[in-house]
Symmetry: C2
Subunit: 274 residues, 2 copies
């Protein structure tokens, strides 16, 4: 059951002429609710605002969105989705001179999962992730590539798929960012030209740097992965997923991954407690 | 005023959890109504069905969509929009095993514009169009690139902007396909890796071939454009727009463009009558 709020009022529908539907002209965030609080809310709102700036959509402001969140009521554990669109408009790609942003919030309460994190099985996807510097980094509503990549498998034993761009760089999972442990530090794909800059990815980088663990953002090839000591995936809801196997390549947990997970657990990502 | 039909009933809203809104997980067509009939309806429905096949969305069938169109009632002149989405679903990119497609149709009646076609002014856009063979050719709801490109100018004297991919190929206009007149025949960008395969583009190619005018689909560079004798743009609503000027380069009408416009006018694209 998800409780929805549209422009500050309980509601479960949007007008058919909303540009979010027509063109994917908008952005979203998916936020973990843990111990009654939206985790890393400031970071999510910051990315949302940056996305609005990039697309030229007026940002409603943190106060407005935080008031919406309060209206949704108390929740101990669950998932909060925030979706902003450029609102309704006449036919045609040209954005209206004055956009009336549509704010959609959905709160889904769930049981806390107390099972310890298990390493996941991962595959490579054939669906490419497109290179486009205009959309790189932000979490827009144009997510068909991820949908098609995720539709490539239905084996419930495989938890995630990795996507490459047409240059052969490994960019991201369908819903995660990826990190490699290599040479005593971390490598992660540079997202200047494609991919979504995850809030959990940022948090991993920050925690690593605070603890003198080097992080290099660069183009990552399949060869980089073959040569890596370890690999893990991140997103806001899962925290960290250590990778057990990727299309036949197996990984054993490195001390660095375990140390980072403990540091993240200390920073509020309780799923990472081992 | 647009009359809307959602899943066969008058309606102006869709559920907030529709995947068309969440991920742009769907397709659309924009169809000219001329002399009381949706022009080239078969071709539009064929492209829609091909798009559904590519995305793995169940196509509702021509009969169902034609019944929807009849329900919208009589219209002499206007624009019909058909939008299909993968319907509602739980959070997450994985498509539901059984999708219940959402059908949205909008009919906007308008006055017939009897002004003869005038040549248009065009510019180059900075927003790139992404290379992605998984989405190339189809008219999906992921159209943020076009929105951002169209937002680059607000001079009403400029009617269209051309978009390039990151390889430097000129691919399309924000809402049009493009043709060059060169060496006595036509050149048009190959759309195997990006761009939308327009219904009017297909019609131009067919009419040209039926009249022994050569058409080459290939990678088009800015140099190809600089060396072209003439240039025109196409889409379903405008028919053909001859280009007067592109960022300082002027074009004068070639006999081939005029001949093609007459052939298109004979084939039902009455806007092309000169």
């Amino acid at each position: 059951m998800t409780a929805w709020l549209v422009n500050g009022s309980p509601g479960e529908s949007v007008p058919v002429d909303d540009r979010g539907l027509a063109y994917g002209d908008g952005l979203f965030e998916t936020i973990a609710i843990r111990a009654g609080q939206p985790r890393f809310l400031d970071a999510h709102l910051e990315r949302l605002q940056q996305g609005c700036d990039r697309l030229g959509i007026p940002y409603p402001g943190n106060e407005r969105l935080e008031a919406d969140i309060r209206l949704l009521g108390d929740c101990q554990h669950g998932t909060l989705k925030i979706l902003l669109t450029r609102g309704s408009g006449p036919r045609g790609y040209a954005p209206p001179e004055v956009a009336t942003v549509t704010r959609i919030l959905g709160l889904t309460e769930s049981e806390a999962d107390l099972t310890p994190v298990a390493a996941v099985r991962v595959r490579y996807c054939a669906t490419p992730v497109a290179v486009n510097r205009a959309l790189a980094g932000i979490k827009s509503l144009n997510r068909l590539e991820q949908v098609l990549a995720r539709a490539e498998w239905d084996d419930p034993g495989i938890q995630e798929g990795l996507m490459l761009n047409d240059r052969g760089d490994v960019v991201c999972g369908t819903m995660t960012n990826l990190f490699l442990v290599s040479g005593g530090g971390l490598l992660t794909p540079d997202l200047g030209e494609c991919g979504v800059r995850g809030v959990m990815r940022d948090r991993v980088i920050r925690v690593a740097e605070q603890n003198n663990i080097s992080v290099a953002e660069l183009r990552v090839s399949r060869t980089n992965i073959e040569n890596a000591e370890d690999m893990f995936l991140t997103n806001s809801l899962i925290g960290v997923w250590p990778v057990a196997e990727l299309d036949g390549q197996t990984f054993t947990r490195s001390a660095l991954t375990l140390r980072l997970m403990q540091l993240l657990a200390d920073a509020g990502v309780t799923e990472c407690a081992v």
